[in-house]
């Protein structure tokens, strides 16, 4: 069984995105488990800055050789920045999912709710990985 990184200072959702909250903004990406499960990421599609999404909305797409997968916003908010470097180097999501592989920064539209801490998310991963 591969060992997946789940940094303690982040929050997670079952659909394998992570969230780093700083004041009223948050950075969003996909987890180490998610990038591993997707395989070689060859394409990333991100929303326009200024776009607003509800909690659980699909806001972008990551694609591997085999498939396109929607990525979901864990909380409601407005996009204030996108990681444009990923448009040319999508593989950064594989190599560095929690730092240089971030996807979008959002201005939170409310208090984040229903998120998992690292320990709870690790249980989700362990369950999925054992299937």
């Amino acid at each position: 069984m591969a060992d997946y990184k789940t940094p303690q200072d982040l929050l997670y959702v079952k659909s394998h995105e992570w969230l780093k909250v700083e004041g009223d903004t948050a950075t969003v990406g996909i987890s180490d488990y998610a990038q591993h499960a997707l395989g070689d990421i060859v394409f990333v599609e991100l929303p326009d800055v200024g776009a607003s999404f509800g909690a659980g909305d699909a806001f972008g797409v990551v694609e591997s050789v085999k498939a396109a997968s929607d990525i979901y916003l864990p909380v409601a908010g407005e996009v204030i920045a996108i990681n444009e470097a990923l448009l040319d180097t999508p593989e950064t999501v594989n190599s560095d999912p929690y730092e240089n592989g971030w996807l979008v920064k959002i201005k939170l539209a409310g208090e984040p709710a229903g998120l998992l801490d690292a320990a709870a998310y690790e249980k989700v991963v362990a369950e999925e990985a054992s299937k």
Binding site: A2, G39, D40, V42, F43, E45, E63, V65, K66, A68
Partner: protein, 365 residues
């Protein structure tokens, strides 16, 4: 989910497993791109035990295969095999198959895993009046493929059979790493390579021997992800994509597999009509020039927005480094060099119609 005899091996090798056609199969080990390149540059080892292996034996076996197959196997000598298609009466496709001529009145038909039950029923449905026996040996035999430029040398070191001189599409009885069965020079990657049929109980030992013997040459286990990208580049059709119940062989550019002059067979009347009038749709190659990857089911339109058809398979080609696709479009609407749009998540993304296949197969003939 059904498991092949190699299921434990895949897990030991760290494969990511997925459901495919009712089977628990490895989609990748180290990564699709790496496995793809290993097959093109050295050789890849594939578990294809999930495919169906049907024996057709008896005095009418050839006549029976001629009835259900669009190809003419009357010229397929013992020790040879040929690609074929099974059609419905209306010309739609039941499955694509390989028919191996093993001996006097003895044939093996290899068919797709996802169609195995349907094919078995289809064959049994048409045996009336034929003196033959149908035997499903799918579970009894394992099947693995060794594909790529290093395949011949690696396999030659593990068998006394003369695999070096085995002709393209040839099949011979062989004992590989102590297991007795058959070796054929067939595959699904566009590379020279072999398919190996041995008893299910011995397939793991053969698998291990090939990986050990081929390690220095760069032989890697390869999952279904790269199996798809490897068949995609040289333009080998996949059931449920380029061929299907509602797609006929002429639309799929497989008219060369339909031998109307061999005499009547299931679907021959409809196919003759389709050939005379020309197929309604045709498979074309697309290269994305805009930013995006075409995927199966995405609509294809003219740059003015008129509907043309639908993508059947699309992905970034690991060998060519381009985002490529096959699409089934209305006949005589586009030609090589034309620009079209692929509608990706509601947005038109520009593509060029390009020549197929994308990759020239490197068979040893």
């Amino acid at each position: 989910m059904k498991q092949t005899p190699l299921n434990a091996r895949h897990r030991e090798l760290g494969a990511k497993m997925v459901e495919f056609g009712g089977w628990d199969m490895p989609v990748q080990y180290s990564g699709i791109v790496e496995e793809h390149q290993a097959t093109r540059n050295a050789a890849g080892l594939f578990d294809i035990s999930h495919m169906a292996r049907f024996w057709v034996t008896g005095p009418d076996s050839e006549r029976f295969i001629q009835l259900v197959n669009t190809f003419d196997i009357s010229k397929t000598a013992i020790g040879q095999s040929d690609y074929g298609i099974m059609c419905y009466e209306d010309g739609g496709i039941v499955d694509d198959i390989f028919a191996y001529h093993l001996g006097d009145d003895e044939w093996m038909v290899v068919a797709n895993a996802g169609n195995a039950e349907k094919d078995w029923a289809w064959l049994n449905q048409h045996t009336a009046g034929f003196d033959l026996q149908l035997t499903n040996r799918s579970a009894e035999l394992g099947m693995i493929a060794l594909q790529g430029p290093a395949a011949e040398a690696v396999l030659a070191g593990l068998t006394a059979a003369d695999v070096v001189n085995l002709p393209f599409h040839g099949i011979t009885p062989a004992t590989v790493a102590g297991a007795s069965g058959y070796v054929s020079r067939t595959g699904y990657t566009g590379e020279d390579g072999f398919e190996i049929f041995v008893p299910a109980a011995q397939v793991s030992a053969v698998w291990d021997s090939i990986l050990a013997a081929g390690a220095a040459a760069g032989v890697r286990p390869v999952g279904l992800g790269a199996r798809d990208s490897l068949r995609f580049e040289p333009g080998l059709a996949l059931y449920g994509h380029e061929i299907d119940r509602d797609i006929n062989p002429y639309e799929a550019k497989l008219g060369w597999v339909v031998k109307l002059d061999k005499g009547p067979f299931i679907g021959s009347e409809a196919l003759r009509d389709i050939k005379e009038h020309g197929p309604a749709r045709t498979i074309v190659g697309l290269e994305m020039t805009g930013r995006g990857i075409a995927r199966q089911g995405y609509p294809v339109a003219t740059v003015d927005g008129a509907e043309l058809g639908v993508v059947t398979t699309g992905m970034p080609s690991p060998t060519l480094g381009k985002n490529l696709a096959y699409a089934l479009v209305k006949s005589k609407t586009v030609k090589v060099g034309d620009e079209v749009d692929v509608i990706i998540r509601g947005k038109p993304v520009r593509a060029s119609v390009v020549k197929t296949p994308f990759y020239k197969s490197r068979y040893k003939k």
